[in-house]
């Protein structure tokens, strides 16, 4: 079994939690979750021959001011930076968080442009500027309509599990 840790960061209300949808209902009470600011959920991705299990860490309260506890990125196979295309200022948050994350993690970063069901307020210049950053993938999603969400996690699972093939060379 391949089991991978994936982290979600991004400004508030961009839709991180909605992207994971299911809520954590493990043995930990709400008290713990709100205190430590992480929600974790599990997603199993089935491929033809194998299955990959993703443990998605939804890291709360991350924006360019407060930052986040960089330890949460420890051991992550990949991380996802989320922005909300209906609110252009969330792009700034995303870039700032991405730069902080890059310092502590060498894992591939995915940029998710969420709320594709709403009209985009991102300018062409803003979109072009994204090319300067080395995201493994930029993908547009709608957590509300479900567009591309499955695909996003499948893509991550596939790429990250290729990384951990025992004899990759």
């Amino acid at each position: 079994m391949i089991s991978l840790k994936i982290c979600l960061i991004g400004g508030s209300a961009v839709g991180k939690t909605s992207l994971v949808r299911r809520f954590v209902d493990g043995i930990f009470s709400e008290k713990y979750l709100t205190t430590i600011g992480v929600k974790i959920d599990k997603k199993q991705i089935d491929f033809d021959e194998s299955a990959v299990q993703l443990l998605v860490w939804d890291i709360e309260g991350t924006d360019k001011f407060s930052g986040f506890n960089p330890r949460y990125l420890n051991g992550a196979a990949a991380y996802i930076v989320v922005l909300d295309q209906s609110r252009p200022d969330t792009l700034e948050d995303a870039i700032s968080l991405y730069q902080q994350a890059k310092v502590v993690s060498q894992s591939p970063a995915y940029l998710v442009i969420n709320k594709s069901d709403l009209p985009s307020k991102l300018t062409q210049i803003q979109l072009d500027s994204l090319a300067d950053f080395e995201f493994s993938h930029v993908i547009t999603t709608s957590a509300k309509a479900g567009d591309n969400v499955e695909k996003l996690f499948e893509l991550i699972a596939k790429q990250a599990s290729m990384e951990c093939e025992p004899n990759g060379e």
Partner: protein
């Protein structure tokens, strides 16, 4: 020598150009010093001890700098040595911290917390002391091995019937909590929580540089549990260091740690504490719950009535009541039953006993009661023209003719425990031209072989002694084997008998293997005592058989016949 020459030499040796000579000396210095350096250091240290004083601060400096630069590497390398020391100081720090955390999260608001507080106050002890005084009744429900940096669950092992909460999520959450704690207490980097209380469970943690071992415990875990977890984790850490170090997501290599994890599935029921509590509990119950209690008493009385009735019941052939015990309203009835005897339930029902609270534990045995032997013969001969008469160990057949007397019939009769001899003198002989003597012998041989293979001698738990109720089976095995030897001689097929012993799968595996061997040996011994040639029998211990359904069937000895075909014989002879 001219003066100028002397001057030249002087200047060469001491003057401006003395580098010529020092160079030459320096070239050799390394060799010269190298030859004596160890002795010189030794001598100087012996003389005034100044060497250590000079070098020690330099060494300390170098080491601390080196550690500073390669912290992780050093921690990994030193861990097995200093692990326990670090742990000690960490646990002291965290015990005091935890007390506060537990207090905040768990006990401050819950009813249980308030109750315990009141109890502690009334007894004049501190809250913590009070908790410690509580009974240590606990059970480890689940053991998780977690990769430290990613929080990935590497393996989890749950106790039987444990309603395990999602272990993957638990692992990840624990790591998240730990990350959070480490961020909040920046001053101590190598710190990790060692217990976390959740609503239903206490999570006891052991920590190593690459992995965390967690036990989810219901009840109150004892201090020793943490020690045991830590030792287990230290073992895992040492054995699987590379796998842990290089982990990127594939959990397969850690399946091998299962036995380590299993060793942590501990539990304890504190008997003395329960007994101590009992009178108080009884008094309280008596005072408050008069009615239910008298109902209980009535139930108990009813149970006793049933027990009495059971004991007074007339016995019936093939059934033997071994023991009657009561256990919280249930009656455990251990009974020995011959397969042909009346069913236990119908026997009870025919004596008008209520089966509701009776738990029947049946043990197989071969009854030697004349009625049972008669019944068995009746079963075999019921559809034939034969009549029979049993006297002692001998069964005499009358009526019918020899053609109806198949080998199958003969061997079935032969295998009735308690019958050692068949007398067919009174059977009317008919020549059987279609079958040669050899063919008949072969058929009988095969039949006996099959029957021998279906003979099973079962054993009590942890015992290799042949119980008296199994002796008829041993005798039956003897009769079969002696007949087989006879037939094999006639057919000139060399044979051997393998006696294989088995054990059930509870307890220690190595001991079980030894026990299974003893069982086989024991059966061999009694067969030899019965007159079977020693060199025909080969006793083999097979070990555990996981027959969970019928545990006692697994504690057994079975027989198999090996016959060597002529080719095999030749090959064996060459060996």
């Amino acid at each position: 020598m001219p003066n100028s020459d002397i001057k030249n030499v002087q200047s060469l040796l001491l003057g401006e150009n003395n580098e010529l000579i020092t160079d030459a000396v320096r070239k050799d210095a390394r060799n010269i010093v190298g030859e004596v350096v160890t002795e010189a250091i030794h001598d100087r240290q012996a003389k005034d001890g100044s060497l250590v004083k000079t070098i020690a601060p330099m060494m300390e400096n170098a080491i601390s700098q080196s550690i500073e630069n390669n912290k992780a590497t050093f921690v990994d390398a030193m861990y097995p040595v200093v692990g326990s020391l670090v742990r000690k100081s960490v646990s002291v720090f965290f015990n005091s911290f935890l007390e506060k955390l537990n207090h905040l999260i768990e006990y401050s608001l819950t009813l249980k917390g308030i109750k315990w507080r009141i109890a502690a106050w009334r007894q004049g002890v501190s809250f913590t002391q009070y908790i410690l005084k509580q009974t240590f009744v606990y059970r480890v429900e689940d053991v998780l091995l977690i990769h430290k940096t990613s929080g990935t669950l590497l393996l989890d092992v749950a106790a039987e019937q444990s309603e395990c909460n999602d272990p993957e999520l638990t692992s990840a959450m624990l790591t998240a909590i730990n990350d959070f704690m480490m961020d909040s207490f920046k001053h101590n980097e190598e710190v990790i929580l060692d217990t976390i209380k959740t609503q239903e469970l206490t999570l006891v943690l052991a920590n190593s540089p690459k992995a965390i071992l967690v036990a989810a415990v219901s009840g109150i875990p004892p201090v020793e549990l943490q020690t045991h977890l830590q030792q287990t984790l230290d073992d895992i850490h040492q054995l699987y260091f590379t796998e842990l170090d290089e982990f990127v997501g594939d959990t397969a290599p850690f399946i091998k740690t299962e036995s380590h994890l299993r060793s942590c599935l501990l539990s304890e029921l504190n008997q003395s504490e329960q007994e101590k509590k009992a009178p108080w509990l009884a008094i309280a119950l008596l005072a408050i719950l008069m009615l239910p209690l008298s109902y209980l008493g009535f139930q108990q009385w009813k149970t006793q009535q049933v027990v009495n009735a059971l004991m007074a019941m007339p016995t019936t052939p093939g059934l033997h009541l071994e023991s009657v015990e009561t256990d919280s309203g249930n009656i455990l009835l251990t009974i020995m039953r011959d397969p042909v005897a009346v069913h236990t339930k119908s026997w009870l029902a025919s004596n008008e006993l209520d089966l509701a609270n009776i738990v029947i534990i049946e043990k197989r045995f071969a009854s030697l009661a004349p009625e049972v032997i008669h019944l068995k013969a009746q079963k075999i001969l019921g559809n034939t023209e034969f009549k029979f008469h049993i006297e002692g160990n001998e069964l005499r057949l009358t009526g019918g003719n020899s053609r109806q007397l198949s080998n199958q019939l003969l061997s079935e009769l032969n295998s009735i425990p308690g019958i050692n001899q068949l007398n067919t003198a009174a059977v009317r002989p008919i020549r059987q031209p279609q079958m040669s003597e050899n063919q008949a012998a072969t058929l009988l041989f095969d039949q006996l072989k099959k029957e021998l293979a279906s003979l099973t001698i079962t054993f009590d738990k942890q015992s290799a002694d042949i119980a008296s109720n199994m002796l008829p089976f041993v005798v039956s095995a003897k009769v079969h084997i002696l007949n087989l030897i006879q037939l094999a001689k006639q057919l000139s097929v060399p044979i051997g008998i393998v006696i294989s012993g088995y054990s059930d799968s509870t307890g220690n595996q190595a001991q079980n293997l030894a026990l299974s061997q003893q069982r086989a040996e024991q059966v061999k011994l009694s067969l030899v005592a019965e007159g079977v040639p020693n060199n025909m029998l080969h006793a083999v211990g097979i070990g555990e058989v996981p027959f969970a359904q019928v545990e006692f069937e697994a504690r057994a000895v079975m027989f198999s016949l090996i016959s060597l075909s002529p080719q095999n014989q030749a090959r064996n002879a060459n060996d």
